[in-house]
Amino acid sequence: MDCYTANWNPLGDSAFYRKYELYSMDWDLKEELRDCLVAAAPYGGPIALLRNPWRKEKAASVRPVLDIYSASGMPLASLLWKSGPVVSLGWSAEEELLCVQEDGAVLVYGLHGDFRRHFSMGNEVLQNRVLDARIFHTEFGSGVAILTGAHRFTLSANVGDLKLRRMPEVPGNQVVPTDVPLKQKRWALDRVAHILLAVGPDLYLLDHAACSAVTPPGLAPGVSSFLQMAVSFTYRHLALFTDTGYIWMGTASLKEKLCEFNCNIRAPPKQMVWCSRPRSKERAVVVAWERRLMVVGDAPESIQYPWRLRFVLDEDSYLVPELDGVRIFSRSTHEFLHEVPAASEEIFKIASMAPGALLLEAQKEYEKESQKADEYLREIQELGQLTQAVQQCIEAAGHEHQPDMQKSLLRAASFGKCFLDRFPPDSFVHMCQDLRVLNAVRDYHIGIPLTYRKYRYKQLTIQVLLDRLVLRRLYPLAIQICEYLRLPEVQGVSRILAHWACYKVQQKDVSDEDVARAINQKLGDTPGVSYSDIAARAYGCGRTELAIKLLEYEPRSGEQVPLLLKMKRSKLALSKAIESGDTDLVFTVLLHLKNELNRGDFFMTLRNQPMALSLYRQFCKHQELETLKDLYNQDDNHQELGSFHIRASYAAEERIEGRVAALQTAADAFYKAKNEFAAKATEDQMRLLRLQRRLEDELGGQFLDLSLHDTVTTLILGGHNKRAEQLARDFRIPDKRLWWLKLTALADLEDWEELEKFSKSKKSPIGYLPFVEICMKQHNKYEAKKYASRVGPEQKVKALLLVGDVAQAADVAIEHRNEAELSLVLSHCTGATDGATADKIQRARAQAQKK
């Protein structure tokens, strides 16, 4: 184990850095990296190389080639570049390759070189050309920033939702000399997409609104220009490299200096990136020149004497900053440089007595069947550090790249666990699972060199990892991982199968039947799979027939509708929408159909779909009354037509002639519907309307739209008794109603004389009790009493009680020997006044019972 730390290099007193090989690359590069535009995606993502860029080639006769490789150098795609000159390449967070052209167009490609879409960074760029471009990542997504020939910056913070923002002008304009080689990128972006720009010895910060000059605190004097800038992966820190070979390191806010260092190399570095680990106090910058690599750190104890590490580069190399280190790849190798994590340091540091180190040793001795195992173990236990030891071993295993070393650490942890009573198993189990997954994707053939930290710490979830595998079309591995981790089907296997199916439908050489069958066989009724999504993809590839076949597998009829509409299968869409029971969908389809079909066909279609028909009727009632009429006409629905015209006579027509005409049409319709009652009633209404109109003309006042009853009442109240009676005769108002009506009206007028005359005109068809009631309602007891005497014997008691003559009521009731009447009177007896009456009734009752 002595040699294990051979690749560890101390930086200062407190930290070690190590560099180990991830892959040996056999990607067979024909050109030097330095002659290519290079873009490598973070999180162990793919590498894109655009060879033969235009700036090298004087004559653009040879078309350049765009190659995409996995991180292990496996070719993923290679295509001839047929578009314009490219300024910069970069990967989005979704692993899409963004190629920024000189004319401001951005072409987006998939991992496999499939063209996705393109967009432009604005018209202004067309003339000025793009000098430089940068792809950056913020919380909103992946953005693009460009620097134009007019020395203006334009950026979009999220290419998924393109909103271009032009940054303010830099004072003094023309300050970025165009002759400076573009490689010396002297601008950087921070977390909120502000741009830091170096112009000669000055620094400017550009935000949305303004451009302000800034000065890093504690910057050494004598700087005449900045050669390189680097912002850390998390956008927290900034490093500046000046023409004096001086490096300033501080916070990105430019509020605090962390340290400075003079490397005495004045040559501009090729690349400078931060190399730090989350939650570590160590901060270091890696600077690369043609053949030299330097790690410059700020060791907290000795700020004045920062430390550095030197490496020699054998080949042309390229740095990729990662969350917890730096990847370095060249023609032949792909390496990872990072700070040794604490747990590993504890265990492997030479002569370490940390509990983890002892446990690892103990386990080794145990395997050798040596008693030393016991000694080591006791030593840990005596210090009470066994739990800590196990934790250390588990954690350290996560940071190891080699499965052998992972295994021996886990074995040690497992060994230590045996001697602990209650050690929660989760961390061990999860580590084993995670490492299996990580080792699988790190495999040379897969080529995703993720570190444990990147995978585990919020940065990349298992879902994202699965997405990445799906992007690489590694469906079987993704499914195996889902099954291994026992992910719920909807999140795991189903999703991947759905992606597979979407890929499958793009295989043009397979017949529709075969594709549909293959997909259904694999997917079956897997929950969470949307056949309509797959069908939509098939339709997108121009395979309508396949799409229809796939839709048949979709169990949710509602989901089929939008695509069916898109494919112009509207009638099918209508029945599916109805099946789904979702009326919004039915409406959507109906409006489609209405525009698509001629009126006759449309109505015919509706006829066969009663539910759609009733919905459409509702729609017409509010939007298209005329259409509603046509619908009824077509169905010979005269009853509804009649109602339609009646409604029109109230709502649509204002003039009396128009209203009468509408009513006439309605009456005709009712006759056709054999609804004579309605027809007659309508005709009566026409008569009444005309008459009311005449009354208004002759008598003034308001008659229109009163009911017949109210019309007569109004006439009586106005003193037009003759007219009223004429009307009653004309419209054959029944006697009973007329009596009620007159009685009420006359009482309202308090015309007691006329009322009495009326009561005597003939025998009342409604009896005389109503007279009593209504007089009492008008509080005229005197009049009421008059009528009470005329009330027939059956209602006499009621009448007497109404006028308040309890005693007489009692007499009548006793006379009638009616039990119900007796109780009624009794209930009206109140207090002392009616005491005698009450007694009388009680006596009568008693007598009745005796008999």
Binding site: R556, G581, P610, S614, Q618, S643, F677
Partner: protein, 579 residues
């Protein structure tokens, strides 16, 4: 007085979760529009919204001003307008160029045992216009309930709409398989019922307190506006009526004749509690003021409100007219003195007592008598048109279509048509049968059903309304609500077995269903919880009756309705009023 629940009665699930859910979603939607905005709310969503999120919550999420949506272009100075409307064509005409988000608010818990979808138009849309667009909403609401409170092991239902809603709901559950799987059911039974299975109950005058308050003052979204005549001041007062109002909770299910006595007893008790303070020393007094006084005052306030409401109701209802009215209703339900009742209705119309009331009586007569005889059908309608205006010709057309007011058809020919119709109905693709057929299909067989189900209790002596013996107490002992009786019978049998004849008489042979899943996980407690879903609205009388049944059997009923309804609301929904 107010009957306590049996000690083994199950606990109700917590439905306030629904309110929180709706509120959170609304807030989420509001936050999708950052910055100040004006909120336009449809009139009939105002009360529900108020129950879910009050103004201060809205203001917190940068709602500047609140407007009512009117059918005219919206005027506002704000740049962002947010509209909260039901999806109706007539609204959307005025709201153009908008992006839409759905506020999936469907269930408003009005009380601990009452959930309302606040969709009063469901009744007209479905039962008159044949518009099925809300059925999906019902299915989604049921789906929401099953995701929150576990699956329902036992499902029963009757009615075409009930069946459709049930099937849609099942489809939703299947689509999102796994979500409810393995959950313990909290509610053991669900019963879906179409309003048109029992129109009679909904058409009767209500005499239990809560129903009477609804009939008299109109309870809106769980609260009522008591006018000056009740509050005995010059102000109106908006009062929430639910189980939290302790006074109300004790009288809500009582027959009105008991309420006044109860309230005066309560007043005396309250006075006695106030009086206790006379003999108190300072410490006791301090205690009294800090702990009891507030509660007493609160109770005092509520008590005086309900006494005021009672007085107001008495003034309106205890007159001769009301007694006569109730007498006529009972005669109609029992089926005697039909001629007399018909004349009563005629007089009612002639005197222009109230258009809605007259209509209600006509419908009640029609349904209980299986349609009016042709002569009455014509003459009553003629009288009605003369009294209340000719535009009601349309109202009659509506009532006929809904099966509420029909003409008796000669007996024999009908059965043939009927069987044809039911064949049509079974055909799923046929969807909605034509209007002409449907009005025939909705023939009422009330009399026969009433006999089969024993809806008119035999009365030996006085029916003691203080100690009810069956659900008939909600109608003064004269009639057991049909809807509630059906529910009782089915729950007793755990199926429709033995009720074939009733189902046939209800014309629901194809729409009565049961679905039991073998659910061992259902606890005995959950099996005593029953969710009753009324499609088209339910009345407070029905709620009271089932609450009574629950107490008798040691069950608890939970009610889900498209809206709380009563006879007036049903009639208004059918009425055509001049624009």
């Amino acid at each position: 007085m107010a009957f306590p629940h049996r000690p083994d009665a199950p606990e109700l699930p917590d439905f306030s979760m629904l309110k929180r859910l709706a509120r959170d979603q609304l807030i989420y939607l509001l936050e999708q529009l950052p910055g100040k905005k004006d909120l336009f709310i449809e009139a009939d969503l105002m009360s529900p919204l108020d129950r879910i999120a009050n103004v201060s919550i809205l203001k917190q999420h940068e709602v500047d001003k609140l407007y009512k949506v009117e059918n005219k272009p919206a005027l506002s100075s704000n740049e962002q307008l947010c509209f909260l409307v039901r999806p109706r064509i007539k609204n959307m005409r005025y709201i153009a160029n908008v992006s839409c988000d759905e506020w999936a608010f469907s269930l408003l818990p009005l009380d601990v045992d009452l959930l309302s979808m606040e969709l009063p138009e469901f009744f007209r849309d479905y039962f008159l216009e044949g518009d099925q667009r809300w059925i999906n909403t019902v299915a989604q609401a049921l789906h929401l309930l099953s995701t929150l409170y576990g699956p329902f092991p036992n499902c029963y239902g009757i009615g075409r709409c009930a069946k459709m809603a049930y099937e849609l709901w099942r489809n939703l559950e299947e689509e999102e398989d796994g979500e409810t799987k393995g959950r313990r059911p909290e509610i053991g039974h669900i019963f879906l019922l179409d309003r048109d299975v029992d129109f009679v109950t909904a058409l009767c005058s209500q005499v239990v307190y809560e129903g009477l308050v609804d009939d008299t003052f109109r309870i809106k979204c769980g609260s009522v506006d008591f006018g000056p005549e009740v509050t005995s001041s010059d102000k109106s007062l908006k009062v929430l009526l639910n189980a939290e109002d302790k006074v109300f909770n004790e009288i809500r299910n009582e027959h009105f004749s008991n309420v006044f006595g109860f309230l005066s007893q309560k007043a005396r008790n309250l006075q006695a509690q106030y009086d206790r303070r006379r003999g108190m020393d300072i410490k006791q007094m301090k205690n009294f003021v800090s702990q009891e006084l507030k509660g007493l005052k609160q109770e005092h306030r509520l008590l005086s409100l309900h006494i005021g409401a009672c007085e107001s109701i008495m003034k309106k209802k205890t007159k001769q007219d009301f007694q006569e009215l109730i007498k006529t209703e009972h005669a109609l339900l029992e089926g005697f003195n039909i001629r007399e009742s018909t004349s009563y209705i005629e007089e009612h119309i002639d005197r222009q007592v109230s258009p809605i009331e007259s209509l209600r009586l006509m419908c009640l007569l029609s349904i209980t008598e299986n349609g009016l005889i042709p002569k009455d059908y014509r003459s009553l309608k003629t009288q009605y048109l003369q009294s209340y205006g000719p535009e009601h010709l349309l109202t009659f057309s509506n009532l006929r279509r809904a099966g509420l007011l029909t003409e008796q058809a000669p007996g024999d020919t009908l059965t043939a048509v009927e069987s044809k119709v039911s064949k049509l109905v079974t055909d799923k693709a046929a969807g909605k049968i034509t209007d002409a057929f449907s009005s025939l299909a909705k023939r009422s067989n009330f009399r026969a059903i009433s006999k089969k189900l024993n809806l008119i209790p035999r009365v030996d002596g006085e029916y003691d309304l203080k100690v009810p013996r069956d659900m008939a107490y909600v109608f003064s002992g004269a009639y057991v609500p049909l809807s509630c009786r059906i529910i009782e019978q089915v729950l007793e049998r755990r199926s429709w077995q033995g009720l074939d004849e009733v189902v046939r008489l209800l014309n629901c042979s194809d729409f009565a269903f049961t679905d039991m899943t073998k659910e061992d996980k259902a606890s005995s407690e959950s099996l005593r919880l029953i969710l009753v879903v009324f499609l088209g609205g339910c009345t407070f009388s029905e709620i009271s009756a089932l609450r009574f049944l629950g107490r008798e059997k040691g069950h608890r009923f939970i009610f889900l309705t498209t809206a709380v309804t009563n006879s007036a609301r049903l009639m208004e929904a059918m009425s055509e009023v001049k624009a």
